[in-house]
């Protein structure tokens, strides 16, 4: 058995512990502040998602039915998944299925043509209906049900 510390000794230990605790927490508070976005960058970053979704698909949206399911083709690779999600976000309540097997298919190629040279129907079944610019294209799939 070991002796319990005397009350004043215990108080000192708790006080020291609390002060160290506070000091370390305030270090992390410095990180909370330091990692915050700079006020000067606010206007640019605030519109980032809007530019890639709502603004980008505004004119296409007017040409699509209000409800139902449309297909989707985009750039290859996992990095382009975000573009697909943002297309769905913009076009809701229309369901955007990542497949060509629909009568209407949304094409989304945000990279400039040099990086993504094939702004042409990605498959033989697709026929270009309208190019809305900025890599947003509407295709028709004649073979789809």
């Amino acid at each position: 058995m070991h002796d319990l510390p005397a009350p004043d000794q215990r108080a000192r230990r708790i006080t020291i512990g609390a002060l160290i605790f506070i000091l370390c927490c305030l270090l992390s508070t410095a990180r909370v502040v330091w990692d915050a976005p700079r006020p000067s960058s606010l206007p640019d970053s605030a519109n980032r998602i809007g530019r890639r979704s709502d603004l980008r698909f505004a004119s296409l949206k007017a040409s699509l039915p209000e409800r139902g399911v449309v297909g989707y083709v985009g750039e290859p690779g996992a990095a382009a998944l975000g573009d697909y999600y943002l297309a769905q976000y913009a076009l809701a309540p229309l369901v955007v299925d990542h497949s060509e097997n629909h009568p209407l298919v949304v094409g989304n190629f945000p990279s400039p043509p040099a990086a993504s040279p094939a702004i042409r129907p990605p498959s033989e079944n697709l026929q270009l209906l309208k190019d809305f610019g900025d890599g947003v294209i509407l295709f028709a799939n004649k073979g789809a049900n």
């Binding site: 230990r13 927490c25 992390s28 410095a30 960058s41 999600y85 809701a92």
Partner: protein
């Protein structure tokens, strides 16, 4: 400005609901802070439930529904307060807790600095990323909110197996709450979910501060609040609209209300207040209505309550007494039951099956694979040290260090509310472990992207329980020094 009316309606309905369940009369500022903080979650919870039910029943006038609910809640509060006036029991003595003046000043200053820093950072993040940063906000929660708001009578289209990446089986507290606000505004303003995330972040701190203040005194409460405000990823993910922060809000609310109930039951042994227990059950139900992990937590809380009650019953039976199980768990179940039924309805009739159990044939094989246990255990240890993104010293290590210096109060760890809460969190953590065992995804990918956030969900409740039991300064100051505080629990026992 257009947001003011729905915000007031949301907070008022949450506040009134809390007042119906909790007629306790204590020190005004602390009680008010706790009720106001709770009202954020309960208000949005009610908003989401009524928006969802309105969509299901094809009711278009949500404002009328809100007015009706507010009138009913006001009537219920009047009734509850009239009853409470007759049955007023012990009053909190938390104001009697004192710590040395200089120490109190240091802690208060640190809290102000941490609060200002977190506030500054959160406001900038909300303004910089109104759609959230990372995919969760626009790929899951706000997308579902758009389907509920824009979809009209065909809102169910959004909850389709064609969009498995949007997790259409995820519950709807955040999407339906947001859609309710948008219905008031008449447009899908992206600032609504951003403001909701902001409110949840600071309301969680408010619950921690006020509940600890009632149970342990102000110094201990401020230390707890500093720990949470100084957790960088907590502030960051709250502002970025990750649902883990609202979930952590409901975990904390459940546990704080359970502990408040059990302390109150000790103070007024004749009739423990059932309202607090019902509110705790409702908070656990709202957790389940926020994210699938919440369903696990709800089950864990109910199971833990039963297990602890059975253990207490054995002890009481040995002493010749008897425990009333209906009173111990009935209100908890009654509070969570409506939300549980709502979740069953959503999962069974609206949402497609989730991805977790999509490959049952390989589950047994995975459960028997020892390397998976080892991998998960290693990641648990790693995440324990890293999840908060602290600078230099992890917050989890800080708590351990503080514990070794200060020690604990044994009589608090013996309290039923505390033991129930610890067991519930342990069961939830074990449940997360089991989910990783059977995950259909690559286990390392899954652990890497989700484990730190799962730890963050449990963090506010852990900080609360830690500062509930760790020895505070009022116990450590020598008697007769003039600075020794009166412990509220001990005062309650004396009363």
């Amino acid at each position: 400005m257009a947001l003011v009316l729905p915000t007031l309606a949301c907070l008022a309905s949450g506040f009134l609901l809390v007042c119906v369940g909790w007629s306790r009369k204590g020190p005004l500022p602390t009680d008010l802070l706790l009720r106001a903080s709770l009202s954020v979650g309960y208000g949005l919870g009610l908003f989401s439930v009524f928006c969802f039910l309105a969509r299901v029943c094809n009711i278009r006038n949500l404002v009328l529904v809100d007015l009706l609910v507010l009138v009913l809640l006001i009537a219920a509060v009047v009734l509850a307060w009239a009853r409470a006036a007759e049955n007023t029991t012990a009053v909190s003595t938390s104001n009697s807790v004192q710590s040395p003046v200089w120490f109190h000043r240091v802690v208060t200053s640190a809290l102000v600095i941490a609060l200002c820093g977190a506030f500054y950072s959160a406001i900038l993040r909300v303004r910089a990323y109104p759609h959230g940063d990372g995919w969760d906000a626009f790929a899951i929660w706000n997308l579902h909110a758009r389907f509920l708001f824009r979809g009209g009578s065909l809102w169910r289209d959004g909850f389709t197996a064609l969009l498995p990446w949007s997790h259409p089986d995820y519950p709807l507290l955040l999407p339906a709450g947001t859609a309710h606000f948008w219905t008031y505004l008449g447009r899908d303003d992206p600032h609504v979910p951003a403001v909701v995330g902001f409110f949840f972040t600071f309301a969680t701190v408010g619950i921690l501060l006020s509940a600890l203040s009632i149970l342990r005194g102000r110094a201990q409460a401020m230390l707890g609040a500093i720990a949470l405000l100084a957790t960088p990823s907590f502030i960051e993910q709250g502002a970025w609209q990750y649902a883990d922060i609202p979930l952590s809000f409901f975990y904390l609310a459940t546990i704080a209300l359970l502990c408040l109930h059990d302390q109150r039951a000790q103070e007024a042994s004749s009739q423990p207040p059932a309202g607090l227990l019902a509110l705790a059950g409702m908070a656990a139900g709202f957790a389940a209505w926020t994210k699938n992990e919440g369903v696990l937590f709800l089950g864990a809380v109910i199971l833990a309550r039963q297990l602890i009650s059975i253990r207490s019953a054995r002890r009481v039976a040995l002493a010749g007494g008897k425990i009333n199980f209906a009173r111990q768990s009935g209100p908890l179940l009654a509070g969570s039951a409506p939300l549980f039924l709502l979740i069953i309805y959503f999962k069974h009739w609206i949402a497609p099956p989730g991805d977790l159990f999509s490959d049952p044939s390989s589950m047994l094989h995975k459960v028997l694979d020892v390397t998976r246990y080892w991998a998960i255990a290693r990641w648990y240890v790693k995440a324990f040290l890293r999840f908060g993104d602290w600078l230099l010293i992890p917050g989890s290590l800080l708590l351990i260090g503080f514990y070794f210096l200060a020690g604990k109060e044994d009589r608090r760890t013996a309290q039923r509310g505390f033991r129930t809460s610890v067991l519930a969190l342990a069961l939830t953590l074990a449940g997360y472990f089991a989910v990783y065992l059977i995950t259909p995804y690559d286990i390392y990918w899954h652990l890497r992207f989700s484990l730190p956030r799962l730890f963050l969900q449990l963090w506010p409740a852990t900080v609360f329980l830690f500062f509930l039991v760790v020895r505070g300064l009022s116990e450590g100051v020598p008697a007769g020094s003039g600075e020794r505080g009166l412990d509220p629990l001990r005062a309650g026992e004396c009363a």
